[in-house]
Each structure stands twice: as C-alpha cells, then as structure tokens.
C-alpha cells in the first residue's frame, strides 16, 4: 500500500498486466479504507459539532429542528459563566482534581515501586488485592464509608471525603505504574545500590526520572477520574451547592434553565473543553497509559 502512494500512477501503464491489476486493487482498497475512515470520523465527531452549533443558537432555535444557528449567539457563553455557582463549580473541580492527583501520585509511587521491584512475602497477594480493589464498584463500600465521613467526622457537604482517601494510594494508579516499572531494567537499580544508595534515593534519583511517562499517565488518569466523577460528589456534596463540582453541577444546569438547550449545551462544551485541551498537550502519555492497562506485562 505504501508503494502505491510513493510511486506516481503515471508509471502504471508500462507495468506487466498482473502487477497492474495488483496495483489497481491496492488503489481500490485505499479508497475503501479511507471512505470507511471518513464515515467513522463523522460518527465520532458529529455529536461534538451538533453540541457546539446548538450552544451558539438562540433559545427558541435550539428547540427547533435547525442544525445551524441563524444568528451566532456567542453571548451564550457569557451567560453560562454568569450563572450563579458556575465559577464555584470550577474552583471545586480544580481543587478535587488537582489536589487529588498530587496526593494520588505521591502516595502511589512507593507502593508501585515496592510491588514491581522488591521481593517479599505477600507480594503476589498484595498485587491480587490491588487488582480486586481496582475492579470494585465504588457502591459496594459506600454505605459504611458515607456513615464514617458524614456521621463520625461530620464532613458531608464537602469534598474532603473524596480527596483525603487519595493520600493512601489509588489501586488503578498503583497497578498501572507497577506495570510500567516492571519494564525498568534491574541493572540500573543494582548499580545505584552498589554505589551505596538507599531504596528511597534509588527511587527518587534513578527510577523516577525513568518513570516519567508512567507517572504522567497515572496523573492524567486520576485528574480525569476526579474531573468526571459524578457519584462521589453526589454522595458527599449534594446537600451543599457550594461544594458541587462541574460534573455534578452540569446536570442541575438543565434544571435551572428548563428548556434552554442552547445554554445547557454551552455549559456542556465548557465541561468537555478542558479535558480535550489537556489531551492535546499530553496525547502520548495518555495513549501509552491505555495500552499499559491491558496489553503489556
């Protein structure tokens, strides 16, 4: 197929017939594959396009069957920001996602390192339990956890019951980083140890610089997890709108502006946009992280 693109088609007539049919088939295949690609691209992008176009319509037009705005109402975005609470949701989301990510990364690194590089009794059991925690729906333990945070520590109406646990390692981050650290050759660690480095210095001085892509992946995943989380804020923050996050608040937006699909879609764009922007800056780390979860040992 690559040859088809490299060589100009004008050279085809001088070729023997067998090669000519092969080349013609390759061109047809190229066309078929790319036509399918365009069809798939439409399926994946049109929802974004329609949401964005609707976010720029007038109230009444958003309820009509029109697909393209008659008048482009950029003012809709100002209205969304002016909605009471919207900026507070941003602040809360950044606090939850930002602080949560830092705590997760700091607390998960040593655990992942121990599981990848230390030999100790109970290691495979620990690893199995980490995977089990990773697969566990959060609803399984939510009743006792809620009673613990809300009734015993009186922290309902805040995001702290969601942030504090992140200081104690996150199962998915530990697993992902452990998979990544398995690929760091032991020789580097042995060399550091021979030079008289303790485990902590080996981790910070030798392993961490090499593990940067893995750390970037767990940081991104944790950030997106918190950004997207609906269940956590619903359980702990719902009674206090001052503690709502974007994901939780977004749905109430539809309620506050009954049928204003245009403003609701503008708010939807504003919740999606940061995630997409971050992705464009950190594409590689993200895709590597997804691959690591399933494929490599």
């Amino acid at each position: 197929m690559a040859q088809v693109l490299d060589k100009p088609m004008t050279s085809a007539p001088s070729l023997p017939p067998a090669e000519r049919t092969a080349r013609r088939r390759a061109v047809l295949e190229w066309i078929a594959v790319h036509a399918l690609g365009v069809a798939a691209a439409l399926f994946f992008t049109l929802p974004f396009v329609f949401v964005f176009l609707t976010s720029l319509m007038s109230d009444s037009q958003a309820l009509s069957r029109d697909l393209i705005p008659q008048v482009w109402e950029w003012d809709n975005y100002r209205k969304v920001f002016a909605t009471p609470g919207f900026l507070t949701w941003w602040r809360n989301t950044l606090l939850y996602a930002g602080l949560g990510t830092v705590l997760t990364v700091v607390s998960s690194i040593p655990v992942a390192y121990a599981l990848a590089k230390f030999r100790f009794r109970g290691r495979s059991l620990s690893l199995m339990l980490v995977v089990s925690m990773m697969m566990l729906p959060p609803q399984v333990v939510i009743i006792p956890m809620y009673l613990f945070w809300a009734k015993q520590l009186d922290l309902s109406g805040t995001l702290w019951p969601l942030i504090i646990p992140m200081a104690f390692g996150d199962a998915f981050s530990i697993f992902l980083l452990r998979q990544f650290l398995m690929t760091v050759p032991d020789e580097y660690l042995d060399a550091a140890r021979v030079d008289g480095c303790g485990e902590l210095r080996t981790l910070i001085g030798v392993v961490l610089p090499m593990a940067r892509p893995g750390i970037a992946a767990i940081a991104l995943f944790q950030f997106f997890y918190a950004w997207n989380d609906y269940f956590g804020p619903q359980i702990y923050a719902s009674e206090n709108p001052g503690a709502w996050t974007l994901s939780y608040g977004l749905e109430s937006f539809k309620g506050a502006h009954h049928t204003d699909w245009n403003l609701t879609m503008a708010a939807t764009v504003l919740v999606m946009a940061p995630v997409i922007l971050v992705f464009f800056f950190a594409q590689k780390a993200f895709v590597e992280g997804v691959t690591l979860t399933g494929v490599k040992g």
Binding site: M1, A2, L5, W30, V33, G37, A40, A41, F43, F44, P47, V51, R65, L67, S108, V111, A114, F118, S124, S126, M128, L129, V130, V131, S132, P137, Q139, V140, V141, I143, P144, M145, Y146, L147, F148, P165, F168, E199, Y230, F231, I235, P241, S247, L250, E251, S252, K254, G255, A256, W261, T264, T268, V271, M272, V275, V287, V290, T293, V295, G297
Partner: protein
Amino acid sequence: MTTVTLASKRRRAALVTAAFMSPWLIGFAVFFAYPLISTVYFSFMHYNGLQPPTWRGAQNWTYVFRDYPYFWPALRNTLWLVVVMVSLRVIFGLGVGLLITRIRTGAGVFRTLFYLPYLAPPVAATMAFAFLLNPGTGPVDSILEAIGLPAPGWFNDPAWSKPALTLLALWGIGDLMVIFMAALLDVPREQYEAAELDGASAWQRFRFVTLPNISPIVLFAVVTGVIQTMQYYTQPLIAGKVASGVIQGAGTQFEPGFPERSTLTLPQLVYNLGFQRFDYGSACVVALVLFALSMAFTAFLMRRRGGLNLAGD
C-alpha cells in the same frame, strides 16, 4: 556473628518494604477491608441513620430479592447490557482498531478523532446525547425523518433507552481502539505472509491469523467490559433524569430507571435504597450482590493466562 547481621539486614529490608507499602496498607484497611466487613454487618441490621442499628436477621435480604420492585429489573438490565452492549463494544472496538491500522493517509488525525469521545466526561456526554436523541426535535431524529426513516423515542421509550445507551457506549470506544490497535500491530507479519502464500482470503487471514493472536486481548476486553457494566451508573442515571425532566437539587426524589425501570442498574439501587429511602441495611444487600458479581469476574480475569498479565514475576 554473620547470622546476626543477616537477620538484622532482613529486618531492615522488611521495614523498608513496609514503609514503601504503608500508604496502600492503610488505604486497604480503612477504605476496603473495614467498610466491606461493615457492609456485611449492616446487611443484617435495620438502620436508617437516626436510631441505632437493630438486628433484623435475613429480612433485608428477603426484602431486596422478593419485595423490592427494582431489583430484578436492574439485574435483567445488567444482563442485557452485558450481552448486547459489551459484545457490540468489543466488536465495534475491534473493527475500528482494524480500520485504523489500515489507514495510511492522515492516520494520526483519524486516530485522534476516533479517540476523543472516550475523553468526554460521562455527564457531559450523556447530556449531549440526551439532546442529540431528544424525541422529535433532536438533530438525530430530524435527520432520520428527513431521509424518511422512523424516529425512535430513544431515552423516553423503554424499548429504545438501552439501545440509546449502547449508542453512547459505542461512541466512547477510544480506549478499546487503542488496546486493539497495539495488539494488532504485535501480530507477527510473517504469519500473514505465510497465509497469503497459501492463498488464504482476507477473511481466512483474519480468522486463522489475526483472531488467534489477539484472543487474549479480546478476552481482556470482554471481561473488563463486564466489570465496567457492573459499575455502570452515571450514564443511565443522567439519561433517565434528563429524559424525565427531573430538576436536581439536594434531597431531590426521582423515579429510578426512567422510563419504566428500563435504565436501572444495580449501583443505582444502592443509591436509591441508601440515600433516598434511608434503608442502609437493604442498600448493603445490593452492595454485596454487586461485590459478589464483580469479584467473580475479576477472579476469572486474573486466572486466565494473558487475560490480565500479572506475570513478569
């Protein structure tokens, strides 16, 4: 003398290990083991958060299985989602993975476009689809009617609400595409060349070369898909709430699973029982059912070779 230093060295190593593992050890005890045992305890208690818990024996269990009208619909929906949504996601993800490995021109652009929906926050994506699939006025129905096809009621029609959720799930296929793409690129080229020399057709090459090579990843995708379905919460909840026009706020009551319980999943029952009806005991029964199902699939995933590779040990 030597034995003493060896023993103290070992003790030091054990202490270092414990120190490195400590964040997770504490997290495991406080946020997993303790609440899990408490969930079992509460499943036998009557507790509404106001009066102290009292012993109730198996009554919560019989209530959930026999009298709670949402349990069996939720379990049936889960089964539907496991069979239809998970298998379509795997087939479609594999298809898109195959397609992306064959695209030569603009591969990077296509891959990014296919991947982006996976990143859309679930609430935002569900709100977007609730709008796109709005019966009558949504863009999708407008287009369907324009080309002369019937326009379904989607999230407002019990027969169409789960297909609508499936459509949303297919849109967010990016993670599977990446995993399948990596697996497909790992298939040894020589096997394809050998098959071609033997005169194998495209389908035969897929059936006898590609599939056997990527079958561990297909299994991985199926089992993680099933586990994700056990946790399926935000999308069906938001779809039901937006379609039914419920306005959210503290203490809002809403009929779970709108329309006609067709979008109920097990995690929603924990919320309904625990945080809407304040019947923490019965909520814990559902939580334990959820636990049993999730752990069964996790055990399966970990036992299969290649399913979830913990090796390298």
